[in-house]
C-alpha cells in the first residue's frame, strides 16, 4: 500500500533533493556529534542530551542544528564534536564541556584550546577537522557523509543527493547498462574475496528463475573490524540505495540484510531507514512510480563467524545450520532457497551509488590497476590513531600506519601488521612500502579480507600471535570438513606447545605440512585461509620460532615460560617501587641498594617491568 508521502515519480525525488540540500543553508551552524559505537561507549549519549538541554536553555534550537551522526572514524579521540561550517574539531568532549562550547564557540566564535587536537610530534594544536593528519590523507568517498548526516533522517540523505543514483538508473539506464557500468568501474567485493562485483551481478542476472534475491552481508566477524557496522549505523540509506540499484540490474524482487545480533544500533538504524524508505516509496511496489518492485528484510545472525561465508549465511537465513557447502553450484544460480542469489557486503553495496553518480571512468581513476576505488580499514592495535580510515587502493602500508595512524605509541618499534582479519597474514617492517591492494596483499601471504589492520610493535611475539589467531579459528570452524576441524586444532596445539616451551625439533615442518593440508583441502574460505597466520609468521619470522624451540627463549618476552625478569644493577636506584608493588614478594633489596628478583617466586605478571622508572627491569 502506498503511503501519502510516497514519491510518485523521479521529478518529485529531485524536488526533495533540492529542498533538503537547501535546508542546510538556512542553518547558522550545525553541531555534529559522533554517536557511533566507540563514542557512545565514552558517554556520547549524555553529551548529546547536555547539548539539547543547553540549546533549549539558550533558545538557539531554531538556528543551530544538532546532528547525531554515525562514526567519524577517529575513535581514539572520542567523543568527537565538529562545529560546522567552520569544521572546528573538538576531541574527548565531556558533558561538562557543553556550556563552554555553546557560550564560547557557538555563540561567540571563540576556540577552546583544551579541546583541540594536538599533534604528537610538536604539540601544535589543530583547529579544523580536515587539517588533522588522520583525515588529511584519507579519501572519504563511502564514508564521506558519515560525520555529516543523521542516519535516522532520510531527509538528511536526500539533502546529500540521496537516491539520485537510483533515480538515474531508473530513468537513464537499462539493467544491462548498470551492470556494464559496475563492470567497467572495476569494483571488487569488499568482503574479502575481491570477486569482480559486476561479473557476479551478471551471472545472477543471467541465471534462470523468476525469483531472485540480493543479500547484504553484514555479518562482520573479524575481531577489531567495524567498518560495516559503522556504515550501517552511520549511513544506512547508502547501503539500501546500492541494494535497490543491484536489484534493478539483476532482476531481483527481494533483498535481505544479514546482520549480527551483536550490532543492535546497526539493526535499529537500519530498521528506521527501511521504514522511511518504504514510506517514501523507495521500497515496495512500483518504486518511484516505475515497474521496479523490491523490498528488504533483516535477518539477524547468532554470532557464528562462519555465517559470514556466503553459503553458510544463506542457510542461516533459511533457518538451517549455518554451514558452508561446496560451491559446485554457484549461489548466483542456486543460493538462498535454491534461487539465484547475489551477495555483496555492506561496503560493496555502499560503493554502488557513488559509481553510478560519478561514473565508472572517474571511479577507475582511483586505485591501482586491478583494485579500483577506496577501501575502509579498521586500524587498531599498537597505533596512535586507532579508528576507521578510508584510503585509495594502492596507498602504502607506511602511509596508513604512520601518516594517518600516527605511528607506534610509546616510542616503540613497528614489528608487523596483520591484515585481513584472523585468517590474514602478518606483514613485516621490510614490506612497509608495499602498496595496499587485493593482489599485493595476497602476494605477500596475507589478504585484504574485510579490511582489518592490526598493528604490532616490538613487544609482540609472533608465535603467540599465530597461536592467538588460531585459537579464534579453532573455535569458529563450523566443524564440517576434516582439515579445518581437526587440522586447525592440531596447529593450535603445536603452537601452544611451542609458546609453553615444549617445542620440538621438526615442529616447524609439521606446522607447515598441516597448514598446507588445511589450506589445500578445506571446504570453504575460512579453512583455506585459516593457516595464513601460521604460514606468514613462519615465512617472515622463522627465527623467532627457532628461538622458541631451540633456545627456549621468547625474544619479545611474551611467552611466560620462555623469559625471566631481571633487574640491572647499574640502573636500579633502589627506589623500592617494584618491591612494594610485587604481589608475590618476589623482589628483595634495601632502600637505595640495587634490588633483585627471586625467580622461584616470580609469576611474571610484569608489574615491576611496567612501574620501573629507570628501565632497570628487563626481560631476559
Amino acid at each position: 500500500m502506498k503511503t501519502a508521502t510516497a514519491i510518485k515519480n523521479i521529478d518529485e525525488l529531485y524536488e526533495l533533493n533540492k529542498k533538503y540540500s537547501q535546508r542546510k543553508e538556512k542553518w547558522e551552524k550545525s553541531v555534529a556529534i559522533c554517536a557511533g559505537t566507540g563514542c557512545r561507549a565514552n558517554k556520547a549519549v549524555s553529551l548529546i542530551s547536555a547539548f539539547k538541554e543547553e540549546f533549549k536553555k539558550k533558545n538557539i534550537e531554531e538556528n543551530i542544528v544538532l546532528k547525531e551522526t554515525g562514526c567519524h572514524g577517529l575513535c581514539e579521540k572520542g567523543p568527537l564534536v565538529v562545529i560546522r561550517p567552520d569544521n572546528i574539531f573538538y576531541q574527548h568532549v565531556k558533558p561538562e564541556d557543553v556550556i563552554q562550547i555553546v557560550d564560547k564557540t557557538i555563540l561567540s566564535g571563540e576556540i577552546i584550546e583544551s579541546l583541540l587536537y594536538v599533534l604528537p610530534e610538536d604539540k601544535k594544536q589543530i583547529v579544523k577537522e580536515e587539517e588533522i593528519p588522520f583525515y588529511k590523507w584519507q579519501k572519504r568517498l563511502v564514508f564521506g557523509q558519515n560525520g555529516h548526516i543523521d542516519p535516522r533522517s532520510i531527509e538528511d540523505y536526500f539533502g546529500v543527493d540521496g537516491y539520485s543514483a537510483l533515480a538515474k538508473v531508473l530513468t537513464e539506464m537499462t539493467p544491462e547498462q548498470v551492470i556494464e557500468e559496475i563492470e567497467k568501474s572495476g569494483l571488487r567485493g569488499r568482503g574479502g574475496g575481491g570477486f569482480p562485483t559486476g561479473r557476479k551481478w551478471r551471472s545472477t542476472r543471467n541465471a534462470e528463475g523468476d525469483i531472485k534475491y540480493v543479500i547484504c552481508n553484514a555479518d562482520e566477524g573479524d575481531p577489531g573490524a567495524y567498518m560495516d557496522r559503522s556504515l550501517l549505523e552511520g549511513n544506512p540509506h547508502s547501503v539500501i540505495e546500492g541494494m535497490i540499484i543491484g536489484a534493478y540490474a539483476i532482476g531481483a524482487n527481494q533483498g535481505y540484510v544479514y546482520v549480527r545480533n551483536e550490532y543492535p544500533l546497526a539493526v535499529e538504524n537500519l530498521l528506521v531507514a527501511l521504514e522511511k524508505a518504504r514510506e517514501y516509496g523507495l521500497l515496495g511496489e512500483n518504486i518511484l512510480g516505475t515497474d521496479l518492485s523490491f523490498d528488504i528484510k533483516i535477518s539477524k545472525g547468532g554470532g557464528a563467524f562462519v555465517c559470514g561465508e556466503s553459503t553458510a549465511l544463506m542457510l542461516s537465513i533459511e533457518g538451517k545450520v549455518g554451514e558452508p557447502r561446496t560451491k559446485h553450484i554457484h549461489t548466483s544460480e542456486s543460493g538462498l532457497y535454491e534461487r539465484p542469489t547475489n551477495l555483496n557486503n555492506v561496503e560493496t553495496w555502499a560503493n554502488v551509488p557513488i559509481i553510478i553518480n560519478r561514473g565508472a571512468d572517474w571511479y577507475r581513476s582511483i586505485g591501482t590497476e586491478n583494485s579500483k576505488g577506496t577501501k575502509i580499514f579498521s586500524l587498531v592495535g599498537k597505533v596512535v590513531n586507532t579508528g576507521l580510515v578510508e584510503v585509495p587502493m594502492g596507498i602504502t602500508l607506511k602511509q596508513i600506519i604512520f601518516d594517518i595512524g600516527g605511528g607506534i605509541p610509546g616510542g616503540k618499534k613497528f614489528k608487523a601488521v596483520q591484515t585481513g582479519g584472523p585468517s590474514g597474514g602478518c606483514i613485516p617492517s621490510e614490506l612497509l612500502d608495499m602498496p595496499v591492494d587485493f593482489d599485493e596483499l595476497t602476494r605477500v601471504g596475507s589478504m585484504m579480507g574485510s579490511g582489518g589492520m592490526i598493528v604490532m610493535d616490538e613487544d609482540t611475539c609472533m608465535v603467540d600471535v599465530a597461536r592467538y589467531f588460531l585459537s579464534f579459528l579453532v573455535e569458529e570452524s563450523c566443524g564440517k570438513c576434516t582439515p579445518c576441524r581437526d587440522g586447525n586444532y592440531q596447529l593450535y596445539q603445536i603452537l601452544n606447545r611451542i609458546t609453553e616451551g615444549e617445542g620440538k625439533e621438526g615442529d616447524i615442518e609439521l606446522l607447515e605440512e598441516i597448514a598446507e593440508t588445511v589450506r589445500d583441502a578445506s571446504l570453504c574460505a575460512l579453512g583455506k585461509t585459516a593457516p595464513n597466520p601460521v604460514l606468514s609468521t613462519i615465512r617472515y619470522f622463522r627465527d623467532e620460532y627457532e628461538k622458541h624451540i631451540t633456545d627456549k627463549k621468547c625474544p619479545a618476552g611474551v611467552c611466560k615460560n620462555l623469559f625471566n625478569f631481571a633487574i640491572l644493577e647499574e640502573k636500579c636506584t633502589g627506589c623500592m617501587l617494584c618491591l612494594k608493588r610485587c604481589p608475590q614478594d618476589a623482589i628483595v633489596g634495601e632502600r637505595k641498594q640495587p634490588h633483585s628478583i627471586i625467580q622461584e617466586k616470580c609469576i611474571k605478571c610484569g608489574i615491576c617491568f611496567d612501574v620501573c622508572r629507570y628501565d632497570a627491569v628487563i626481560k631476559v
Binding site: 561446496t326 570438513c481 596445539q493 609439521l510 583441502a521
Partner: protein
C-alpha cells in the same frame, strides 16, 4: 541427457550430464576414497578424501560434488593427492577412538580400510577425540547406540535421516571439534521424531552408530549374512540376517543399497524386530490338551491324534464339517500345501485366511473392474509418480518403506500428494490437499471427485471410449453427488474436494495408493470399485506411474491369495466351480475335489458357533485377536469338536486348541513370499529351528499321509515346481530365476520377464468396467447410546496380533502398550485427561485402555490399534460383512467411552 566425454587418469570415458566425477569414476572401476558420500543422498563434500585434480581448474575439487564437464581431464591418484589424503586420514584418526580390537565393526570399517591403504600406521597427532562414555541422546536407548568418540563427523547419519527417511530427527550440535550428532534440543531418541528405522546405522562408515542389541554379540568376521525377505508387511523388503556362526543367533539385520524393492531401506520392525525368532517362549514340542491343560507330546503321538481325529470327523459329519485356515505369514509353498491338504485330504473348499479380513474387497472389486485384483504398478514407480493419491492407508506406519518413497517423491521429486483419511496421519503434513472424511463415507467423496472431473470436462474421453464400458451408468450415478452434497456426508469442504479432483485429473500420471481404510467396510467392494472408476475416468491405469495400488498388509498375503488359500479358487485364481479347472486339479492331485466354493473366515466362525463346522486346522493365524467380535470367535472355536493350531507361539487362539504343533519361523525355512507388487521373492533359512519345531509343509504332508493321502516333497523348491505347472500366472517362476531379484507375476513361462505394471493396452478382463456405485453409510452408526465411531488399524512399531512384535525389546520399548486416540475437544467435554484409563464399550464387548489425546482423530472418532491383548480392539468391532467380499467392517463401529 547428453553424453559427456572426459578423461580420468588418462582414460577416455563417457558419462551422462549431471553425473559427478565420483559417480563416473566408480562406474568405471576407478576407486576414489570417500567417507561422507553415500549414493542414497546428496553429496556433502565434508571428509575431503575424494579431492581430485582437474586440469586447468584452480585448486582441488571434491569428486563427489563436482559435475563432469566435456573435455575435463581429471587425475585421482597423484602423489600430491595421496599425501593430502594421508594427512587428512591422520587427522581423522586423531579424533577417532581407534579401539579396533574391541570394536564390533572391526573388519567392516571404511576408516580402517583407508588407513590400511594409505599406510597410516603411526599416530603423529595427539588424540582429540570426544571423551568416550559421555551421555548423549542415545544413552540408554534400546535400539541405537551412538558413540561420539568413534564419530568422524561425516554427517551421513544426519543426511540419511533428512533426505532418505525424511524425518530430520538427527542434527548436529555445537561446532568445530565439539560437533556431535544429536537430536533437536538433545532430547532422547525416543522422544524425538525418530522412526527408529536404523538408516543412520546403515550409512555410518565406522562404528559410531551401531545396533545396541548387537554390541559385543560378534564381530564382522563372526557374522554370516543370509539374504531373505522380511516377514512383516507386504512391502517385501530384502534384508540380510546377520547370524553369528558360533552362536547360531541373529545378531543384527542389514540391507543392501540397490536391492529391489527396498533399496537398502528398512523400517523399525525389519531392522529391530527379529528377537522373536530366538525367544524363549517359542513352541518347541507338540502339545496335547488333557483335562483342560496342555502336556508335552512326541510328534508321532500328536500327528496320529490329529490325523485320527480329522478322519473320524470326516467320516462322521462329512467333508464340509472340516475346514482350514491358511496363513499370510507362511510361504507360498506352505499355502499351496495347506489348500491342497484341505481340498484333497479334507475334501472341502473350506479354506481361507486373513486376506479375507484385509483385502478381500480389493480382490473382488478390482477383479470386477479390471479383471485382476492386485497392485497394478510397482513400488519403484511411486518414487517418481507425478501425483499420488493416498486414501485409507497410513503408509508411513503400515508400509514404512513405501511411505518414505512417497515422502521422497513429494519432497525431492516435485510429486503432488492428495491424502484422504479420517485420521490426520503424518503424510498429511506434506500433502497438497488433505481431506478428513468421516469413516465410511469414501464412496460419497470419490463420487464427488468424479462429479467435479466430469463437470470440468477433465475426463479422458479417448480412454473411456477405447478401453472401458459402463460409462453412461457411472455418469448417471455420480451426477447427483455434487461436492456440496458430499460435504454434508463426508465433512470435507466442497472446495477441497474440487481442488483434489482437479489436481488429480490434471496430473500427467496419477497413482492411487490405498489400503484397509478403503477395504475394511461393509461397502469395501464399492469403495474399491469407486477408486477403479476414478482411475479409468482419467485414463490413469495401464501405464507407468499411474494406476490403482492396494498395499497388501501381511508379508505374504498376496502369495496366500495367489496360491489358492481362498474358498472359491485354486492357485492362480482358477475357479473351483469351473469344470475344466476342477478336472485339471483332480487329475494333478489324484483326488476327488469339491466343486462347491467353501466358507470364508467369518462364515467358518459362524458355522462353528452354529455347530455346522466340527473340525478346524489353523496354521499360523490368530483369529482370537485378529477377527472381528472376538467374543463370538471364542464361542465358535470353543464349540468345535477338534481344533488344531500350528504356530510358533502359544497364541490366544492356540490356547483354545486340542493339539498345538510347533512350527518354524520364517528365519528357519526356505521358500518364497509374494509382496504387494506381485513380486515372488526368496525366503532363506538362516538359523536352526528351536527344539522339535518343524516346517509347516512337512507337518501337513505327514498328517496327509496318516490320513491316507500321499504327499511328499524333498524340499520347498519341489513344491514350487508343482506350483509352476498348475498355476499359469506363476508359470515361469523358478527358484534359479529369483536368486537375486524376484519376479513379478504374471510370469507365464521361463522366458517371461515378469510384469512391472498391469493392464497395458488391454485390461485382464478385456475392457475396464465402470460400476455405478451409490453411497451407503456404515452398518452401525453412532447414536445416543454409543456416540463415537471406533476405527482400528496398526502402528509402525507393532505387528498385527503382537505375537512377534511384542516379544521384541526395541519395539516394546518404543510402544509398550496400546492407547485410545481421542480428540482434544471430546476429551475436554468428557473431562478425560491424557493417559487416563477409560472403558470403551460396544454392543459386543468392552475393554479398558489408556487415552492419548491427539488431533490425529476428528471429533466423534476414536482409534485403537488391534495389537494389544490387554485391550483387544476386536472385542469391540462388528462382524458385519461386505455382501460381495465378505470382509468385516473393522473400520467403523459405534462405541461409548466412559471414565473408570
Amino acid at each position: 541427457m547428453s553424453n559427456i566425454p572426459l578423461q580420468i587418469n588418462g582414460r577416455e570415458l563417457v558419462g551422462k550430464e549431471g553425473q559427478s566425477i565420483l559417480q563416473i569414476a566408480h562406474e568405471n572401476g576407478i576407486e576414489i576414497p570417500h567417507l561422507c558420500y553415500d549414493k542414497r543422498f546428496t553429496p556433502t563434500g565434508a571428509c575431503r578424501l575424494c579431492l581430485v585434480e582437474v586440469e586447468e581448474e584452480n585448486g582441488l575439487k571434491t569428486a563427489c560434488t563436482t559435475s563432469i564437464q566435456p573435455g575435463m581431464k581429471v587425475w585421482t591418484n597423484t602423489d600430491t593427492l595421496r599425501a593430502l589424503r594421508k594427512a587428512t586420514l591422520e587427522l581423522l584418526i586423531s579424533e577417532h577412538n581407534m579401539s579396533c580390537s574391541t570394536c564390533d565393526r572391526d573388519g567392516d570399517c571404511q576408516l580402517q580400510d583407508y588407513a590400511y591403504e594409505y599406510g597410516v600406521t603411526e599416530n603423529r597427532f595427539p588424540s582429540i577425540m570426544i571423551q568416550p562414555g559421555l551421555d548423549n541422546y542415545s544413552t540408554g536407548d534400546t535400539a541405537i547406540a551412538y558413540d561420539p568418540s568413534k564419530c568422524i563427523r561425516c554427517q551421513r547419519c544426519v543426511k540419511i535421516c533428512a533426505e532418505v527417511q525424511c524425518v530430520e530427527a538427527l542434527t548436529l550440535r555445537d561446532r568445530a571439534g565439539s560437533v556431535q550428532v544429536s537430536t533437536g534440543l538433545d532430547v532422547p531418541l525416543k522422544d524425538s521424531p525418530c522412526e527408529t528405522c536404523g538408516q543412520c546405522i546403515s550409512t555410518c562408515p565406522v562404528a559410531a552408530m551401531y545396533d545396541r542389541q548387537a554390541v559385543k554379540m560378534g564381530k564382522t568376521k563372526d557374522l554370516v549374512k543370509i539374504r531373505t525377505t522380511c516377514n512383516y508387511c507386504g512391502v517385501g523388503c530384502q534384508i540380510d540376517l546377520n547370524v553369528n556362526r558360533n552362536t547360531g543367533r541373529i545378531v543384527r539385520v542389514t540391507s543392501e543399497t540397490g536391492c529391489i524393492p527396498n533399496d537398502g531401506n528398512t523400517c523399525v520392525k525389519g531392522r529391530f524386530g527379529m528377537d522373536f525368532v530366538g525367544s524363549d517362549e517359542r513352541l518347541k514340542v507338540p502339545l496335547i490338551k488333557e483335562d483342560g491343560k496342555f502336556r508335552e507330546a512326541g510328534w508321532d503321538e500328536a500327528l496320529d491324534l490329529v490325523a485320527g481325529k480329522f478322519k473320524e470327523l470326516k467320516e462322521k459329519y462329512g467333508s464340509q464339517a472340516l475346514g482350514g485356515l491358511s496363513s499370510a505369514r507362511a510361504t507360498n509353498e506352505e499355502n499351496y500345501i495347506m489348500q491342497k491338504f484341505v481340498r484333497a485330504v479334507f475334501g472341502t473348499n473350506n479354506v481361507d485366511h486373513c486376506a479375507r479380513l484385509c483385502h478381500a474387497s480389493t480382490v473382488a472389486g478390482l477383479a470386477r473392474a479390471f479383471g485382476s485384483g492386485a497392485m497394478t504398478n510397482s513400488i519403484e514407480e511411486l518414487r517418481r509418480a507425478p501425483l499420488i493419491f493416498v486414501t485409507g492407508s497410513n503408509t508411513t506406519e503400515c508400509h514404512p518403506v513405501i511411505g518414505i518413497y512417497i515422502r521422497q517423491a513429494v519432497l525431492f521429486e516435485g510429486s503432488k500428494l492428495i491424502v484422504a483419511d479420517p485420521r490426520r496421519i503424518s503424510l498429511c503434513e506434506i500433502a497438497d490437499v488433505y481431506m478428513q472424511q468421516r469413516p465410511g463415507t469414501d464412496v460419497a467423496l470419490l463420487n464427488a471427485m468424479m462429479n467435479v472431473i466430469l463437470e470440468e470436462g477433465l475426463a479422458d474421453r479417448e480412454f473411456i471410449e477405447e478401453r472401458t464400458e459402463g460409462f453412461a451408468e457411472l455418469k448417471e450415478a455420480v451426477s447427483k453427488m455434487t461436492p456440496e452434497q458430499a460435504e454434508k456426508i463426508t465433512g470435507v469442504p466442497a472446495e477441497d474436494i474440487r481442488r483434489a479432483a482437479i489436481m488429480y485429473a490434471n496430473a500427467e500420471c496419477a497413482s492411487i495408493v490405498y489400503s484397509m481404510g478403503i477395504t475394511q467396510h461393509t461397502t469395501g467392494t464399492d469403495n474399491v470399485l469407486s477408486l477403479a472408476n476414478l482411475a479409468m475416468l482419467t485414463g490413469n491405469v495401464g501405464k507407468e506411474y499411474a494406476g490403482v495400488n492396494p498395499l497388501r498388509g501381511q508379508n505374504n498375503v498376496q502369495g496366500a491369495c495367489d496360491l489358492g488359500a481362498l474358498p472359491n479358487v485354486y492357485s492362480g485364481y482358477q475357479r473351483v466351480d469351473d469344470a475344466d479347472i476342477h478336472k485339471k486339479f483332480e487329475k494333478a492331485w489324484g483326488a476327488r475335489l469339491s466343486d462347491k466354493p467353501g466358507l470364508t473366515v467369518v462364515e467358518m466362525m459362524n458355522a462353528a458357533a452354529e455347530g455346522a463346522l466340527k473340525g478346524l486346522y489353523i496354521m499360523g493365524e490368530n483369529p482370537m485377536m485378529s477377527d472381528p467380535d472376538i467374543n463370538h470367535v471364542r464361542e465358535g472355536l470353543e464349540n468345535l469338536e477338534f481344533l488344531v493350531v500350528q504356530d510358533i507361539f502359544l497364541s490366544e487362539t492356540a490356547e483354545l486348541a486340542h493339539v498345538v504343533l510347533p512350527a518354524c519361523s520364517f528365519a528357519e525355512k526356505n521358500g518364497t513370499f509374494t509382496n504387494t507388487e506381485r513380486r515372488v521373492q526368496r525366503v532363506r533359512k538362516a538359523v536352526e529351528p528351536p527344539g522339535q519345531a518343524r516346517l509347516d509343509w512337512e507337518i501337513l504332508c505327514d498328517v496327509a499321509r496318516r490320513m491316507g493321502y500321499s504327499m511328499s516333497y524333498p524340499d520347498a523348491s519341489a513344491i514350487q515346481e508343482e506350483i509352476t505347472e498348475l498355476t499359469p500366472i506363476y508359470g515361469g517362476v523358478h527358484y534359479d530365476r529369483i536368486e537375486e531379484v524376484g519376479l513379478q507375476w504374471p510370469c507365464t513361462d521361463r522366458s517371461h520377464p515378469g510384469t512391472k505394471f498391469l493392464h497395458e493396452g488391454k485390461f485382464s478382463r478385456g475392457k475396464g468396467k465402470f460400476h455405478a456405485v451409490s453411497f451407503l453409510p456404515p452398518r452401525e452408526m453412532p447414536d445416543e447410546e454409543y456416540p463415537f465411531i471406533l476405527t482400528t488399524g496398526r502402528l509402525l512399531h507393532h505387528w498385527h496380533t503382537g505375537t512377534m512384535s511384542r516379544r521384541c525389546e526395541v519395539l516394546n520399548d518404543r510402544v509398550p502398550f496400546g492407547t485410545l486416540e481421542f480428540n482434544p475437544d471430546d476429551a475436554q467435554r468428557l473431562g478425560i485427561k491424557s493417559g487416563e484409563k477409560v472403558a470403551v464399550k460396544s454392543r459386543r464387548g468392552d475393554i479398558e485402555v489408556p487415552v492419548e489425546i491427539t488431533g490425529k482423530v476428528a471429533r466423534g472418532t476414536v482409534f485403537l490399534a488391534f495389537h494389544w491383548k490387554e485391550s483387544p480392539a476386536n472385542a469391540l468391532t462388528i462382524a458385519e460383512l461386505d455382501p460381495v467380499a465378505k470382509i468385516p467392517e473393522f473400520k467403523a463401529c459405534a462405541v461409548r467411552v466412559e471414565k473408570v
